[in-house]
Symmetry: C2
Subunit: 216 residues, 2 copies
């Protein structure tokens, strides 16, 4: 199990802290406000009330011993930046900081954050992608050119895989078919596709887009 | 292209609105505060200053014509709930509402939201999962039992695919290998695995977990 330090137990910080703890890792949570710390106290290894901009106090905490430090301070821009600086100065190995916008993100990266997250912005883009491709249940990007997607079939997609000729028509490969809660791997040419089957398809992005357009 | 109505152009709402517009869809953005609307005015089809709890005004907007309505009002709990009620009453076909916590989420679902999103909470869990499985670059869940993962190799994973015998040892299938920005699909048994290759593997969740433990 790894060791994590989460600074700031707002909604974002609390969610990370309790999830990491659930996954079996050691989590120390810090917040200057004990009321913010309370709801998460039973869901982490240790909870400490302290000011995370205090470099000396962070050093005493043995900050170098954590695999990753997450600075999840939100609204208070100054505290978020100062805490990132303090955490780096006190010897943190890897720092992920939360930003509220693009400008803050650049500042945090400049003062030492290894990674910057923008929860509302990133979730917004993710939701937009799902809404923009409703036939697409989920996707895994593989490099800049390829994706594996799970696409729900419609009436235009009935017949056997041999009938559908997806590789010759679109250049994509059907890796598996997700039917109800079952997964049928490497379906053969005579596999009969039913309505509401989800085809797990690997292809180049333009090929996938063409197939998606057919299904949309 | 589909039609979307986004209510509330905070960070979450603005991100969804501009992303959907980028993806080629029609987006109408609403906010009662014109200062909140300004930054996003060039990134949507129409921007309207209005109170989204006004059912009559929503009806005049032709709310039934949108494929999905997103209620992205945040801090003001009352407005978020009232807007969701008003949007439903005015004839919205599909409603996604943003919630700040679990309790609000239940209320929004009860008053008619088809889907409820909690950006900070959901991103927190997502980040925790990535931190908890560092060898795993990304993953696609297929049903309750299977996953396709992209796993980075280490020194324990050198040799040809025939040497590694991943199917017989773990029960998983190597669908492709992601090397630099290239994707090599259906690698043969004599394929030589290099350090920092990313194996794209399909398997049952327990099989994937066993392989991940070997790599961790
Ligand atoms: N200097 C500091 N030291 C420790 N904790 C701090 C400091 N400054 C702010 N915090 C804490 O960070 C937490 C998160 O910040 P805040 O609630 O302002 O952000 P938020 O963007 O609303 O968070 P979220 O979106 O995660 O709910 C708060 O609980 C706050 O007490
Ligand atoms: N009744 C209303 N009608 C229209 N817009 C509203 C109404 N009430 C609030 N809003 C708008 O909703 C937007 C988002 O709300 P707010 O900024 O409070 O949430 P937030 O949680 O901080 O948002 P985000 O996390 O998306 O930045 C604001 O721009 C606000 O003006």
């Amino acid at each position: 199990p790894s060791q994590f330090l989460v600074i700031g137990t707002g909604r974002f910080g609390s969610s990370i802290a309790s999830a990491l703890y659930d996954f079996g890792h050691e989590v120390v949570a810090i917040d200057e406000d004990e009321h913010a710390l309370e709801p998460v106290m039973q869901q982490v290894t240790h909870a400490v009330v302290m000011d995370a901009t205090d470099e000396e106090a962070l050093r005493k905490l043995g900050i170098g011993g954590f695999d990753t430090v997450i600075v999840a301070i939100g609204e208070n821009l100054e505290a978020s930046i100062l805490a990132t600086v303090a955490v780096r100065a006190a010897g943190a190995r890897y720092v992920i900081s939360k930003a509220d916008g693009q400008l803050t993100a650049r500042v945090l990266a400049a003062v030492g954050a290894d990674e910057v997250v923008r929860p509302e912005h990133d979730m917004g883009r993710r939701l937009a992608r799902q809404l923009a491709s409703p036939a697409q249940v989920s996707a895994l990007e593989l490099g800049p050119d390829h994706t594996i997607v799970e696409l729900e079939t419609n009436e235009s997609m009935m017949g056997t895989l041999a009938d559908l000729r997806l590789p010759s028509r679109f250049g994509v490969q059907v890796i598996a078919v997700h039917r109800e809660d079952e997964l049928l791997v490497n379906p053969g040419a005579d596999f009969e596709v039913y309505l509401r089957d989800r085809l797990v398809v690997l292809g180049r992005n333009d090929e996938i887009a063409a197939l998606r357009d057919l299904l949309a």
